[in-house]
Symmetry: C2
Subunit: 385 residues, 2 copies
């Protein structure tokens, strides 16, 4: 890995990185999932940045949200147009300082970015699994990541961190593997979705499954449910932005060069073209079936359910917690984080809570990297690797 | 009209009612719309309840929201399963007391409930207009209602009242026809949509237009874009309910009889089956093209735009105002109503503002009829017909 080191604390890039793959749970054993189904082999795509120290005590696992991937920082080649999705946070001198921490980012099972998911070939048939892929849960995602940590020789993680669905995984890590997590940082997340969260997911899935291009999931080799997936993404996108953010960004502005209404149904308001653009862009890079599986995993997630309730679940944790919410996040609002924080406090756990004052809505956990970086630095300082 | 009169102030039903039709703007003249297009003939479906007094001073016009119709109260026949959409508010002894007021409810152009809209026959072709129907605006809706008032011999309305899009029409009435409105009661509405409101509308339209059953709008005589319209309605439905209302109503409850997850993609959570049910039910009674036209009218609405700004528009009004918002309405939140209220106050107008404290979200304007009825009674008492 070549990079621009952060000399004297200067922020730099991790440089050129590559995605790696870990395959395990070979048949016939495979891995038994939460649902009882057996899956194997399982491949996880992951990337690492920085160096594992001799004590193996500085490994920090980053977990991504719905549409993310293992490529959190740096570029895959010198002509790579964009860096990883959290490049502002991961690198020399950055919030997750790769001069200090060995940072790992793992993709998830059920996904479509190099890990085993519905678009992967089912060894039993030689064809993509499609809807024969078993339903996976957040618990399953974390269980496979634990196998990856075994493979990397990391018994105990210095930190687990993630926003949104990545935060669900962080919570699950701290509860399911308490002895393996020293610091847990769930960002803009919740221990379980509200009815409204499930409702938005359900409508997105309906949009995909209503598209004739979906073909009961057997669309591989064809264009697939492009329109349905774009609509699902647009719905999601609205929920990731606050009303304020949309007002600041778009207001009621018409598209550039347009002075007055056209009195038609083409996109005319800037917010319309923005949603169009991002909806269409998403279709190119994401598998519609993965969208179904991953949103279902979020719906099903209920941190306390496996342990007889949230309090009993949280009683298990050994990690120090830094819980962060965003003032304008209405998808995973602050009151959802406060539930977890107050229960952790009641259980006598070491927990720090901050609400970031930001107009950017749910997406702020990706955008407010300076504030977040400062919070991490202060949090880590009390208990370095 | 036979009814159960509200003797001694008791609440009663308006009884059996019928929808009437008013047709005007016959070709070749027609009516010139905001867009400049000419439309005719135009039919408006409407219903009336109570009696116009001798002074013609007690007529109150109710305007409905996106999916409403002219049938606001009573039943169409003795075996009618459900009464009109605001039956709790309109009747003898009710908030809009038909013993005192002559209540009129008019359907809208662009709609599909008896008024001229995209599903109506285009006299020029003998086929449904479909997307050849001109884009209509809130201004156009109100201009046609003004023609209906002319037809009914009502020069000045005692009141105009409506929630959501009906509230936009109420505002437009007071500004465009200031001398014709004595009381204006916009409920849970706004003088113009925010970017977020436009975004939700846009995604709903995308869902419809992405459905191959839509056929560029030429689906009449076929099932049409049933799935797309259902998805659009589901999106809408989420926005009409508050997170609290959904939590109280559904929480994370699974469908009746189901104890544990099925690990599949059928609807399992109650909130999912609720959305399914209402999405499918909507398809039976609503025209997808009307959904496109009506949401576009809402997007375009900007009360001040025709008059050089909101202040200049509101300077025109002569009506007393009762503006009502709902504490948990996040689609048309209280701060949107406050903009109108503060500008009316600044212009020295007679305005009363109330935020109803209700957990029901945007839909509360339909549900909190007791509170609303009391507010109306007090408001009207100061200036009776």
């Amino acid at each position: 890995m070549s990079g621009s080191p952060g000399q004297n604390g200067q922020r730099g890039s991790v440089g050129i990185v590559e995605t790696k793959y870990f395959t395990f749970a070979e048949p016939p054993d495979g891995m038994v999932l939460t649902s009882g189904a057996r899956l194997g082999p399982i491949t996880l795509a992951y990337e690492t940045y920085g160096e594992l120290n001799a004590a193996r005590s500085n490994a920090t696992l980053v977990m991504h949200a719905l549409s993310g991937d293992a490529h959190v920082a740096g570029r895959h080649s010198t002509d790579d147009r964009k860096p990883g999705w959290w490049d502002e946070m991961v690198g020399p001198g950055k919030g997750l300082d790769t001069d200090r921490y060995f940072v790992i980012c793992s993709n998830i099972i059920g996904g479509c970015q190099g890990s085993t998911g519905p678009s992967s070939i089912n060894p039993a048939t030689g064809k993509p699994y499609a809807m024969d892929f078993p339903v996976v849960t957040i618990q399953d995602m974390v269980a496979t990541q634990a196998r990856l940590m075994d493979h990397l020789g990391i018994e105990r993680l210095y930190g687990v961190i993630g926003g949104s669905m990545g935060g669900m995984q962080a919570l699950q890590w701290a509860v399911a593997y308490p002895e393996r997590v020293r610091h847990c940082m769930p960002l803009a997340t919740t221990h379980r979705l509200t009815a409204q969260g499930i409702a938005f997911d359900a409508v997105g899935r309906q949009a995909i499954m209503a598209d004739p291009g979906w073909k009961d999931g057997n669309y591989y080799g064809t264009p697939g449910p492009e329109q349905g997936l774009a609509v699902a993404r647009m719905i999601g996108h609205i929920t990731y932005l606050s009303e304020d953010a949309m007002r600041i960004k778009f207001g009621r502005q018409l598209v550039k060069g347009q002075e007055d209404y056209h009195y038609g149904f083409e996109s005319e308001f800037q917010v319309e073209t923005y949603l169009d653009y991002h909806g269409r862009g998403f279709v190119v890079r994401f598998d519609a079936n993965s969208y179904l599986y991953i949103t279902r995993a979020m719906d099903y997630f209920d941190l306390g359910a496996d342990w007889g309730g949230l309090d009993k679940a949280l009683a298990r944790v050994q990690a120090r917690f830094l819980v962060v919410s965003v003032s304008s996040d209405w998808l995973f609002p602050t009151n959802r984080s406060r539930v977890v924080v107050s229960r952790l406090q009641a259980a006598g756990k070491d927990v720090t809570f901050t609400e970031i004052n930001s107009p950017y809505g749910h997406d702020a956990f990706l955008l407010e990297y300076e504030t977040l970086g400062g919070l991490l630095e202060a949090f880590f300082a009390a208990d370095p690797p």
